[in-house]
């Protein structure tokens, strides 16, 4: 095989990247558009830093679900884990002290496991199940907190400023993202999850214990969400709201789909979600800076969600059952 000569290498890499990650084009276009429209506001270090902050927030919640989506299921409970986790920290602070922060990843782990078991054994469609879990957790959060937003002090070290303009949360997040991508691309677990997403029946016939790996997928997702919630929790100032915001729930989904992970599963995953989250954050930031009505952002989010799903579902044939 002829090795392409050095001059052609870089364009070749770029074309390959665009083929694998088509959303890069979109991202690039957005960056160009917004930079040229609002150069004074968009290209400032402060703005870029804000973009990174929002990207981190989005990514922390999108990481877990992006693993579940690869198997073809959905996990909508991430907001719930964050909220309930947060309020549990507040609750357990007097007794457990600093260690109470550990309750969040544990909660995520436990939730993921329970959801996975119910999904695998009782066969409820995952999104209804996780949506109900979300609602239950929200309710529990409200019950425990008495309806008031509570905050917890003492964990500021997690997000204390280290490098100017780069949010410390990003430094925590990068290893987590790398871990997620590693699991999905280079371990047996990851490969099996992709197999289950592509063709569950085939995977089963090939000898993969589908139930076990589905439970594993949900558990891992819960764990990542839990860890992410710890960071996000402090990112937000150590408090959780008690109202359910539809946006917070939908944005990670948009990031996942925009990045190129089809909802039917089988491809994509955390590595693609990174780009999706980045693109969406840039878009939101740009729109906020523009003169559009802030409420328009929600509209555009919804349209974007639909458009991305349509674009990624093009391959489906036949009768969709659901």
């Amino acid at each position: 095989m002829k090795i392409p000569n050095k001059k052609k290498l870089i364009p070749l890499i770029i074309i390959q990247t665009i083929k694998i990650y088509p959303v890069t084009l979109f991202l690039f276009a957005l960056l160009v558009i917004f930079s040229s429209l609002y150069p004074e506001k968009f290209l400032t270090p402060l703005n870029l830093s804000t973009i990174l902050r929002q990207f981190v927030s989005l990514m922390l919640f999108a990481l877990g679900p992006s693993i579940v989506v690869v198997t073809g299921s959905l996990d909508l409970s991430y907001v719930g884990i964050w909220m309930l986790g947060g309020i549990l920290v507040w609750l357990l602070m007097p007794t457990l002290g600093m260690f109470s922060i550990l309750v969040i990843p544990l909660l995520g782990l436990a939730t993921g496991f329970i959801v996975g078991v119910i999904q695998a054994k009782a066969k409820i469609p995952s999104f209804i199940l996780t949506l109900s879990v979300l609602v239950i957790y929200c309710g529990l959060t409200g019950t425990i907190s008495g309806g008031i937003s509570r905050s917890v002090r003492g964990y500021e070290f997690i997000t204390a400023r280290l490098i100017p303009y780069i949010p410390t949360a990003l430094l925590w997040t990068v290893p987590i993202i790398i871990a997620a991508v590693f699991i999905m691309k280079y371990t047996k677990i990851g490969i099996y999850l992709y197999a289950i997403g592509s063709n569950e029946e085939g995977a089963r016939l090939a000898g993969i214990n589908v139930d076990k790996y589905k439970i594993l997928a949900f558990t891992i997702s819960g764990l990542f969400t839990g860890i992410g919630s710890v960071i996000y929790f402090q990112h937000q100032g150590g408090a959780v709201p008690v109202v359910l915001n539809l946006n917070t729930m939908v944005w990670p989904l948009v990031a996942i789909v925009l990045g190129g992970t089809p909802l039917t599963g089988g491809s994509g995953g955390p590595q693609k979600t990174i780009l999706g989250a980045l693109t969406f954050t840039v878009l939101c930031r740009g729109l906020t800076l523009s003169f559009l009505d802030p409420t328009m952002i929600q509209l555009i989010t919804g349209l974007l969600l639909i458009a991305s799903i349509v674009a990624s579902s093009r391959g489906s044939k036949g009768i969709t059952v659901l």
């Binding site: 995952s126 309710g139 509209l299 919804g302 639909i306 799903i309």
Partner: protein, 305 residues
């Protein structure tokens, strides 16, 4: 189990709450229940058709809000014409839902979720977040005219319910919905135009969501973007609690009446014993899961995502 279960549950719940508070069933209590139940029942009937078909419609509540908001915002400009306006818009969104699902193969919950975000965005944009008060007497009389001691919205609800039951059981259209829900591939092979029927069903669901919203606005007389914040799960729970399974092909609007009674009774009862909104969320989430588990037809599902 599917047939007797909801009836037993309804009687049990009524019994339990009666024991807790014997004055529950006085006239005032019944009126409160009627007010809570009626618009809910209308929206739930629309949703029932979708679930009967084996799909989901997240956007019912958002469309309800949009219809209500359109009424209150434009009643001064258009008078009572806001009613057909709101209804057409809701049917239009239902049509888009159906299109996304049937033609573009977007999974129904995703399509309706996206649409509900869009609709919420529109509602937010139109209402600017403020509370709006409905002052038009004629409009409000739609729901609050007392006939034989019961507010008119109740008669609307019962009328809608009877209409939906009729459509489901005695029209070819209804039969087709059952067929598509019970066995989509079989339905297609026997000549049913699955895609068109799916679109019609989503339009129907949109229509009833809009109707529920209009009557809701007439009943309450005011509203903002915050109303009905987390009613999606109770709505879904009431359809499933009535015996309409998620897998589709069984149940129907006649069962939904029972489900709505159960859910609204639980809601009222919980309020009565002082349980706040949060506990209600927990309980309804649990109910949704439990009812979902118990009504799913195991035989038909090999692969569930």
């Amino acid at each position: 189990m599917n047939n007797i279960g909801p009836i037993i549950a309804a009687i049990a719940i009524i019994g339990v709450f009666q024991l807790i508070n014997p004055t529950f069933l006085r006239y005032q209590g019944i009126i409160t229940l009627v007010y809570a139940m009626s618009y809910f029942l209308i929206a739930a009937c629309g949703l029932t058709f979708v679930i009967m078909m084996g799909s989901f419609d997240f956007s019912v509540l958002s469309l309800l809000k949009l219809a209500a908001l359109i009424c209150v915002l434009y009643i001064d400009k258009f008078g009572l014409l806001v009613i057909p306006l709101a209804l057409s818009i809701c049917v239009g969104f239902g049509f888009i839902n159906g299109l996304l699902f049937a033609k573009l193969k977007v999974p129904s919950f995703m399509a309706t979720l996206g649409i509900s975000v869009v609709v919420e965005g529109i509602s937010l944009y139109l209402s600017k977040g403020f509370l709006h008060i409905m002052n038009d007497r004629t409009f409000r009389s739609l729901s609050v005219t007392f006939i034989a001691g019961i507010p008119s919205i109740f008669y609307w609800a019962i009328g809608v319910w009877m209409l939906c039951t009729f459509i489901a059981i005695w029209t070819p259209f209804g039969r087709r919905i059952y067929a598509v829900g019970g066995n989509p591939i079989g339905a297609m092979l026997s000549g049913i135009n699955v895609e068109s029927n799916r679109i019609y069903v989503f339009m129907l669901s949109g229509f009833f969501a809009g109707l529920a919203g209009i009557l809701y606005m007439a009943q309450f007389g005011g509203g903002s973007i915050e109303m009905g914040a987390d009613m999606t799960i109770p709505l879904f729970a009431s359809v499933v609690a009535g015996g309409t399974a998620l897998t589709g092909g069984v149940g129907g609007p006649h069962r939904t009446l029972l489900g709505v009674i159960i859910i609204t009774w639980i809601q009222a009862g919980l309020l009565m014993i002082g349980a706040g909104r949060s506990i209600q969320m927990v309980i309804f989430g649990l109910i949704a899961i439990v009812m979902g588990i118990s009504t799913i037809d195991r035989r038909r599902i090999k692969i569930i995502k």
